[in-house]
Amino acid sequence: MKVLTGNLAQLSLVDILKLLSSGRQTGRLDLTAGPNSGEIYLQDGIIVHAVSGVQVGEDVIYTLMGWMEGDFNFVAGAAPSEQSVTIPTEQLLLEGVRRAEEWGDIKSMIPSTGVIFRLSPSGSAGAVSLQPEEWQVLAQVNGARDVAEIADELGQDEFTVARWLYGLTTAGLLEVMEKPTSPPRATINGGFFGRLDSEFTEVMGPLAPLIVDEEIEALGETRESFPREKVAALVERVSAEIGDEQKRLRFQQIMLEMLKGL
């Protein structure tokens, strides 16, 4: 029977455990976050067992406390198959509170696991000494991976990774990337331009690529990031340069076939 259900973004794991512990509850707290899941068992309000994948014990609880997002529900009455937690529940919760306080500072910089970091172009003002785990995190930062993905790559919990990222950013080695205001545009690859240049050169001669460049510029775009939605407009503009009607039609026919394959 479910007696408590919700999202970790609204109620932290520490608060949930405090609630269940003070109520002397017995049962299993299920936690899920994407493909990951974990279970914490309580007996009369005391945490007695925790499991996540192949991991068991108190370390699992610290890992689960590091989840920034996820769903939970408590199944009352469920009994554990074993007892893997030996640390007193009060001590576990105190560590959780300490992490939560630390989390308050981190959250101002990393409000969600979707935040992406990149190397700071200016770097640190002075000499920097890195711990091995900090170096591992730094090596994962590429301007594309977010906090959740880095944690996944390193097999670490999100809180720990966020804490390292926070430290590296405060030291001036990293910076938070601005969130894109709109979804990235679908662009076409260089293969398309290779074929366009080739077919257009067949008709117009060696100056054809220059004409293509002019039309790309007229559309306010570049070859490197040309949007898929403007491809037909580009082909139409380019083909308008072909004086011979039959050649123009043939060119458009070839390009239309190519556009179908994009």
Binding site: R237, Q252, L256
Partner: protein, 125 residues
């Protein structure tokens, strides 16, 4: 003729296409969802009147793109007939125009289609 129209109808955003004679009467093409044959005739007549007016004013009428709030019409003058394409606002018009170019070129080489159009040829107006 059907093949050419089907090719045009395959462009994303196209609601339907038809060919009418120079008085606006439908020769080939099916009414798209939400429109019946009478409405196609009415569209055809409106387009013909517009083309006559433009021709009187000395304006070219070979290719017309008419954009309205809820959709668009792309019109091609086939001399003995008129091709009308109905499309949605967000249609890639460049892609549609090129597709029409190729389809019309194929239509002009289709002797059976040309015979059909010639048989229905009337003076515009």
């Amino acid at each position: 003729m059907k093949k050419s129209l089907a090719e045009i109808n395959g462009v994303m955003g196209v609601r339907g296409s038809f060919i009418c004679d120079n008085r606006g009467a439908v020769i080939a093409g099916d009414a798209p969802p939400g429109l019946d044959a009478e409405m196609l005739d009415a569209i055809g007549r409106e387009v013909v009147q517009m083309m006559v007016a433009l021709q009187s004013a000395g304006e070219p009428t070979g290719e017309l793109d008419l954009q309205y709030e809820r959709g668009g019409l792309v019109v091609r003058d086939l001399d003995t007939a008129i091709l009308i394409v109905l499309c949605q606002v967000q249609t890639d018009l460049a892609l549609l125009r090129m597709t029409i170019n190729v389809a019309v070129a194929r239509l002009k080489q289709d002797k059976a289609a040309q015979r059909q159009l010639t048989a229905r040829a009337v003076e515009r107006g």
